[in-house]
């Protein structure tokens, strides 16, 4: 079922989907490499879910096409569905069933049965570290464990690629780390991972990250590459009484090479160009009172905001998606 390693597991070309007058996905092209952890980000309404639904063979494209795990989504969506694993943000498990019953059900749906199914259930339970939980009723499990059962159910049929649609929504950070540890193990055994998330710290775990804004894909690179392109320079967090009741923002904006100043809770977040002469002493000197200047690093959240702002400027609207429906 898996592809030769020189081929891309997912190859997307000019993928477009319209709903009436609304273009949810607008000429999106990219590829996903074999064994890669590929992150797909975007705000609500940016077109993430529509893209995933098309790539999983659940929704036909209006224009363009994609090859997923060896099958063309426009022509052979049924084959796509058989070749992939899918885990949605709302766990698709039956809450009243026991863990084992859920796995038997999903294994059966993918045509597994008998000894093979038994073996495979044992294997995936081992992989997600849940042996011994077979008899637990699904609804009584904590969210983090249920999420691992859902992952197990999505990989029973040994898909070459697994789509994880916001798999960790609502799961606590410790359980999320654990889940990502499993995802890594799965990827290093050759399963390609396509994951959507809006936790920016989680996106850092991906090999490459694509960022959707208003139906398009204006940014796609490694996390470090995205930061270098969209949030270049040096960053500081500035706190202290020297900021209070002053024109601190304007003073910082006047520093040579200043790229951005944002109010963020207790302090200001300042970004200056890499070649700017500004240092911590210069920042302190620019402000009238005592401040604490702490260097910090760009995050994918900075990238996300930069990409969204650039897009909004191009479109002539401010953060256009902010009015999007739930």
């Amino acid at each position: 079922m898996s592809l030769p390693s020189h081929e891309h597991v997912v190859e997307v070309k000019d993928l477009t989907r319209r709903f009436g007058d609304f273009t949810a996905v607008d000429r999106v092209s990219f590829h996903v490499e074999h064994g890669e952890i590929f992150g797909y980000l975007g705000a609500n309404g940016a077109g993430k879910s529509t893209t995933i639904r098309m790539l999983c063979g659940l929704l036909a494209p209006t224009e363009g096409d994609a090859v997923v795990a060896g099958a063309r989504i426009s022509r052979r969506p049924e084959k796509v569905k058989r070749n992939i694993g899918y885990m949605s943000q709302k766990f698709s498990l039956y809450p009243e069933l026991r863990v084992r019953d859920n796995l038997e059900f999903f294994g059966g749906a993918y045509g597994l049965w008998g000894r093979e199914l038994d073996m495979r259930i044992d294997e995936v339970l081992g992989l997600v570290d849940l042996r011994g939980h077979e008899g637990d009723r699904t609804q009584e499990l904590p969210g983090g464990i249920r999420q691992r059962v859902a992952l197990a159910s999505a990989i029973l049929h040994r898909p070459g690629i697994v789509f994880l649609d916001e798999p960790t929504a609502g799961v606590d950070p410790v359980a999320r780390r654990r889940f990502w540890s499993l995802i890594r193990a799965l990827a290093s055994s050759g399963t390609t991972i396509f994951v959507t998330t809006h936790y920016m710290d989680e996106a850092e775990y991906c090999g490459r990250v694509g960022l959707m804004v208003a139906g398009r894909l204006p940014a796609l690179d490694t996390p470090d590459g995205l930061k270098a392109t969209f949030a270049p320079g040096r960053l500081w967090m500035i706190r202290g009484s020297g900021l209070a009741g002053t024109d601190a923002v304007a003073r910082l904006r006047a520093l040579p090479g200043c790229l951005d100043v944002q109010t963020q809770g207790a302090g200001l977040r300042l970004r200056v160009a890499m070649d700017s002469p500004v240092d911590e002493a210069a920042i302190a000197a620019a402000l009238p009172g005592p401040v604490e200047v702490e260097d910090t690093v760009a995050s994918l959240e900075d990238v996300f905001l930069a990409v969204v702002d650039a897009d909004a400027q191009k479109a002539g609207t401010a953060r256009a998606f902010d009015g999007g429906a739930a």
């Binding site: 705000a43 609500n44 309404g45 929504a169 609502g170 799961v171 606590d172 950070p173 410790v174 359980a175 780390r177 654990r178 990502w180 540890s181 890594r184 290093s188 809006h198 920016m200 710290d201 850092e204 775990y205 991906c206 090999g207 490694t222 996390p223 470090d224 967090m237 706190r239 209070a244 009741g245 944002q262 109010t263 963020q264 809770g265 207790a266 302090g267 604490e292 702490e294 910090t296 690093v297 995050s299 959240e301 996300f304 905001l305 969204v308 953060r319 902010d322 009015g323 999007g324 429906a325 739930a326």
Partner: protein, 316 residues
Amino acid sequence: MSTDPASTAIGEPAVSVVGLHRHFGAVHALRGIDLEVRPGEIYGLVGPDGAGKTTAIRTMAGLLDPDQGQVRVFGMAPDDVAVREFVGLMPQRYSLYGDLSVGENLDFFRQLFCLSKAHAAERIARLLELTRLSPFVDRRADDLSGGMYKKLALACALLHEPRLLLLDEPTNGVDPVSRRELWELLGEFVGQGMAVLVSTPYMDEAERCHRVGLLHDGIMVAEGQPGRLVRELDHPVFVVEGGDRAAVQALVEGAPEVRAASPAGARLRVVVIPGRTEALVVRLSPLGAHLVPARADYEDVFLARIGADHDGTVAA
């Protein structure tokens, strides 16, 4: 004994918590926490789900009695009716009526706090503008995106101009743009002298607070100014470069020198037990891997403080 909150001197805590314990049946949710939030200060209560953040906030809001210890809000008991009008609470979820519109929810809270229509009109207009919700005043709360819902909940909590704002995970599950907007709003309000206590599961939000308490299993494992917590971390932090990724991961997970490991892009990041760096270098060198010093972050601080006992596993 009660004091008039209006006469509270600047610098006197808006809320103070001493030796707070709370059980739920066999669960010891809070195991003796102390904290103080002063006017004009953002205090971040940072920790994973189940750490006790919500229990602490509910106790400070007077919704839950402590089993042991003392909570004072502007010098008064938190369930004192007189203190209510000085406190704004934004619970984690379901604080709004889903079938009511944005405007109707605000009007409901206006009536709840006995504010006259005329008095509140300007305030409501200002809050709608700050939260950029003005265009959606007729939209049902249930039809708002996660970020917009949170902003409406914040506007409702701020309507009566509280002097202490308690926020339970205001940024959980919201997109990055709304998250930045929420922190921007907090910055504006605190600049006007409000005291803010905000809980969050996101370690990276610690840097946006004046002071933070890292809460884990009902215990404050670290507290202080955020920059200082990172600077004073006694555990060195590295990124592991080179070597076969799977082999490196297996080794790091079993290495007794490593307190915690986490993914960093395609590489691994490790928090090393003080004084054990050399041993780890020796262990890694046969794999062709070496350590490159990295800048510690709040998650590293948290992991170093809680030690390797919790969760058992090394996430990588």
